[in-house]
Amino acid sequence: MSKFDYNKLIDNEAALQSRSIFWEPEIYQEELKQIFNRCWLFLGHDSQIPEAGDFLRTYMGEDDVIVVRGEDGEVRAFLNACSHRGNKVCQAEWGKTKAFTCSYHGWAYDNMGELAAVPLEESIYDNLDRSKLGLVPVARVQNYKGMIFGTFAEEGPDLVEYLGDMAYYLDVVLDASPEGMELIGTPFRVEIPGNWKLPVENAIGDGYHVAWAHAGAMRVVGTIGQGRGETVLGIGKDNTGFDDSGQMQVAIPPHTILSTLDGQSGYALYDNPGPCIEYLEQVRPSVVERLGEVRGKQLLGSETHMGVFPNLQIIQGLNLLRVIHPKGPGAFEVATYSMADKNTPDEVKDIIVKHVGQTFGSAGILEGDDGDFTEAITHSPNGYATRQMKGWLGMAQGRTMDWEGPGEASPGIVNELCQREFYTQWQRTMLAESANDILPKAPVQKESANG
């Protein structure tokens, strides 16, 4: 039984969040158990480990994890910890190997996780059973259209059930062609002194801060080559960014969508969007045929932020995928990858990769703007009085709109629906008694047309 009352820490009706949820070390320890040890977490993509022996390292919560394609072609994930004393068996970030060898005593595991060799085994051990001393596996590893996810939970929803109707939106990125999406390059990795929840909800839903927090960057992005005016994504100096004439946020609990729905604005921040848009329009008819009009015309090419609970963001248009790893209550690491459909011509991929670096890479001109307020929201509650405060996310509460796709939609990307949904789901997982309780009980009913 938790000593915290999560029903009070998050007040869904009033859209209030206790500031202590970003600061309290004991809440953080419960998050590692309730969220990061139960939810499906993004581990990597098939394109990164296409062949037997290919591996990469990532984190599930604060657990160091090796994701590896075994000699048999199957992708598994293991704790990066030797069964003997617990040293890491792999220090490289990625590569190809037949064995992971511990640097302490030389125990060696094959790429399917079995303990394959123990130095001096026959002379020094009478009681060692190698078959019981393999690497500790992540309980379940499943793949959705190239995306590899894992969970430590033995029970609870399978990946497809966990993603639910979110698959409808993910497919715009993952299934726009038969070849699908790929991740490109080495991820940017940055550690920021803030709580992990803040960058997640900022990326999935905070359309409000773009015009102001990033004001300097927004004045200059996209200005080379296209002679862009003062407006990007409907945001400019004469426009605060509020635009409900065809943009939306959608709750697909536990996941979220933010989209401009105009089919092109994903490239609005690019200096040289020409080749990207040309390719986009070239493939659009085949995507319409594959995924239908709504997804092919309205979602494909739009600035669309897909939030997969708890810590994955897939951002179409900017064409990046981000994972937020917690590093204690007061710090997180963001890993940012470039992504594109595999069929994308190389010159367009080059534009995308450069653009990701220049906007949201380690030195991205937008990425850096968010650090100060993330730090302040997290660490100012060191002060007892500040810790009693609450944050408020009441914007556009109760506003709904018609939307043909799954989920509950609300108009405008300057809207706090996605952020509210994130904290509602956070509360749900923190209250869950087992992994069977981490999803909403009943599928969300769509409100009637004029809702």
Binding site: Q48, W94, S362, D369
Partner: protein
């Protein structure tokens, strides 16, 4: 002007006068940046500059990448226009994280100046420490190496290429919005 990217290994030293001018150039460049005089800095660059900073690779020495999509990726991969754009952002007066001002102190040292195959192009290696101090206690120091190509024009030295190596796989800083 030919701009071969071929950089000599440690080659013949430049003469002392050139070495002196190069040291003065790098010190003046660091001071222009410390003092946020971005127009002055941009004037020290060749308009065909290639400005790069790769992500350090934490792979095993014997790594054979195979067919993985993971490959070398750049933190900075900038043309002159992109550097101008970054400088313009600093000058908008709307970069809140630099108000109150962020203080930068660049120390450039271990400067080595070598001749290249081209008489007017020098291969210059240096090491730097970039101290950034802001707010109450937000003090961060980045240390790395640089590999520059400088072109000796009738109009003084110009920076033609810079590759910055910052040996930190995970950047522990709220932003890297600064010129190295």
């Amino acid at each position: 002007m030919a701009r071969k990217q071929k950089i000599a290994p440690v080659g013949k030293d430049t003469d002392m006068e050139v070495a002196y001018r190069i040291e003065r150039f790098l010190a003046a460049e660091a001071r222009a940046l410390d003092e946020e005089r971005y127009d002055d800095w941009l004037a020290m660059l060749d308009e065909n500059i290639a400005y790069k900073m790769p992500i350090p690779m934490n792979t095993y020495r014997r790594n054979r990448p195979g067919k993985s999509s993971i490959c070398e990726t750049m933190i900075y991969d900038e043309s002159f226009e992109k550097l101008k754009q970054r400088a313009a952002r600093e000058d908008t007066g709307m970069v809140w994280l630099n108000d109150p001002a962020t203080h930068h102190i660049r120390t450039i040292t271990n400067i080595e100046s070598f001749c290249t195959d081209e008489a007017s192009v020098y291969d210059v290696r240096s090491k730097f420490t970039l101290l950034r101090a802001r707010r109450d206690k937000d003090h961060i120091s980045h240390t790395g190496t640089r590999k520059d190509l400088l072109h000796d024009t009738g109009n003084g030295l110009k920076l033609v290429a810079r590759t910055v190596f910052l040996p930190a796989r995970v950047i522990v800083d709220k932003n890297l919005n600064m010129f190295f």
